[in-house]
Amino acid sequence: MTSAPLDPQSWQYRQINARAPGLGYLSNALTSLVEAGHPVMAGTADLQYSNGLVRFAERHPERFVQFGISEQNMVSAAAGMAAAGAMPFVATFASFLALLCCEQIRTDIAYSALPVRLIGHHAGIALGFYGTSHHATEDLAIMRSIADLTVVAPADGPQLAAAIRASADHPRPIYFRIGRGQEPNVYAEDAPFSFGKAIVHAEGSDIVLIACGTLVHPARAALQSLRAAGIDAGLIDMPTIKPLDEEAILAAAGRARIVLTLEEHNILGGLGGAVAEVMAESGARARLVRHGIRDEYSLIAPPTHLYRHYRLDADGIEAVAREALNRLS
């Protein structure tokens, strides 16, 4: 059968995702671990084009396991892989990983402290109009409450790659929360990363933004606008939600009047909740403002429209920061 060439505006899923540069970081980082001699195994649940693991699968077919649409089976199997001495990475949408597989993560992996690396991608509201079933605005809160599980929300591909490389020496299970691979980069390709360490972009005496994951990039743009307007604003990237860099939080809260947490997540239980716990127990003098999804199910829309609506883009973050400062003055 012959068919006319498709119009250039047409596209199909596999081809577009195979080209997306942001989806290369995961596979490339795993390959670097393989080349360093680590017993890496990777698995996904019918999402190899969404998370880009198809590239890893092509390079290392003997190390890749396609589990099909059986996420719980995949997560428990990853526990078995780690128990037998392999270094498994399993990836699926954050909503399915953290919610559907929560018990397998807790009981099979974290309870036994097995060094499985869980990759929850398309976290937050990145899946836009695919709807609430595909959104993950609870995953940080759920994963953070699981003992012995490290929780990391890298800001971009380079930081994800650095965190994956650093995970080779990390003896515990890790939940990586990442976006959809289309986020602009914050960091250069050789981004440094240490588990449990915040990255201070700027200190500030008026307001300090503490952001994680996909919100670091717009927070940085908001920071520049605030500073250009004469506001002494700071920014901390908090890629490790657990264990939390309490020292960095307390230093910021001791210097600034306002700490503003930013996350593509419910304001309950995630980064904002974690920072609130630290500040409340320390008696820090700064006022805390949590910004994110305010305990509701997101509307559906294209992601950029949602980020604007929920004020999770640079303009929105800047506005939230100004409102917080105005309330205090």
Partner: protein, 296 residues
């Protein structure tokens, strides 16, 4: 990852596929040991799953004293065969075997379930040497076994992975995800044993949510299915030896072990309520006497 696992023939099992009378007597004695130790340990906890262990006592005995490749005192030996329990609540019957293999000191058994002791109703691999996978939430273990078998394939270790499943566990959806997955990936070094004792906590499995035709289901999922009397140590050992000797297996194996819940203690065999319970010292003595003189 679809190539079947192929390894050299295991010389230790070649040529003696039928257990001798002495070996069978030894396995029966070990099954009695499992039951008697279970009575003793549950007396410490004052509550436990007697009948869940009694139905699989011969399975435990055959696995740990005939089928599995283990090294005394080396619970972390990388080439050991693995054992996972979907029915983790039968761990009280496993602990005495692990202690008998010198994976931990026998004195630990005396503090079963007491504060600070690692031995609980469900097995914890982080705390108990010789436990290959933590369990307690029914339905996860077969998946865990798949992961171990796949890792073994990558790491070029030819161990077998045995997974003991309850028949009530067949009601868990994840079991069938795993069943599909293991057949698809041709995991020939995975052997699931279903303890088909007929009962679960709330009653007869077939009254709660029926699981038959069980053999047909596993066959339809692409498994090599064998049915056996789960209290016939000779039949069970012979079957597992034949499976072990065949190093060209390219399908996962399901052994459906027809068993009696509470086997070995007459008043437990007829009363499903004993899934969880406690025996006073007098009744424990009666049970021990029945077990000691029984053929089971």
């Amino acid at each position: 990852m679809t190539a079947p696992l192929r390894t050299a023939a295991d010389p230790s099992s070649a040529g003696k596929l039928v257990p001798t009378a002495a070996e069978i007597a030894r396995l029966r004695e070990r099954a009695r040991f499992v039951r008697l130790e279970t009575l003793r340990l549950i007396q410490i906890a004052k509550v436990g799953h007697y009948t869940s262990v009694f139905s699989c006592a011969e399975i435990f005995a055959v696995l740990y004293y005939d089928a599995m490749r283990l090294k005394r005192g080396e619970p972390a030996w990388p080439d050991r065969d693995r054992f996972l329990m979907g029915k983790g609540h039968a761990a009280v019957g496993l602990y005495p075997l692990l202690a008998d293999w010198d994976f931990f000191g026998k004195d630990l058994l005396d503090g079963y379930t007491r504060l600070g002791n690692p031995l609980g109703d469900h097995p914890d691999m982080r705390k108990v040497p010789g436990v290959d996978f933590s369990s307690g939430s029914i339905g996860h273990a077969l998946s865990g076994g798949i992961g171990m078998a796949l890792a073994g394939r990558l790491l070029k270790r030819d161990f077998d992975v045995y997974v003991l499943l309850g028949d009530g566990e067949m009601q868990e959806g994840q079991v069938w995800e795993a069943a599909l997955s293991a057949a698809h990936h041709r995991i020939g070094n995975l052997i699931a044993i279903v303890d088909r004792n007929g009962y679960q906590l709330d009653g007869n499995v077939d009254d709660i949510i029926g699981v038959e035709p069980l053999a047909g289901k596993w066959r339809a999922f692409g498994w090599d299915v064998h049915e056996v009397d789960g209290h016939d140590a000779a039949a069970l050992a012979g079957l597992l030896r034949r499976l072990k000797a065949d190093r060209n297996r390219d399908r996962p194996v399901c052994v459906i072990a027809r068993t009696v819940k509470g086997k070995g203690v007459s008043y437990m065999e007829t009363e499903p309520g004993w899934h969880l319970g406690y025996l006073s010292p007098d009744d424990e003595a009666r049970a021990a006497e029945e077990i000691a003189r029984g053929d089971a």
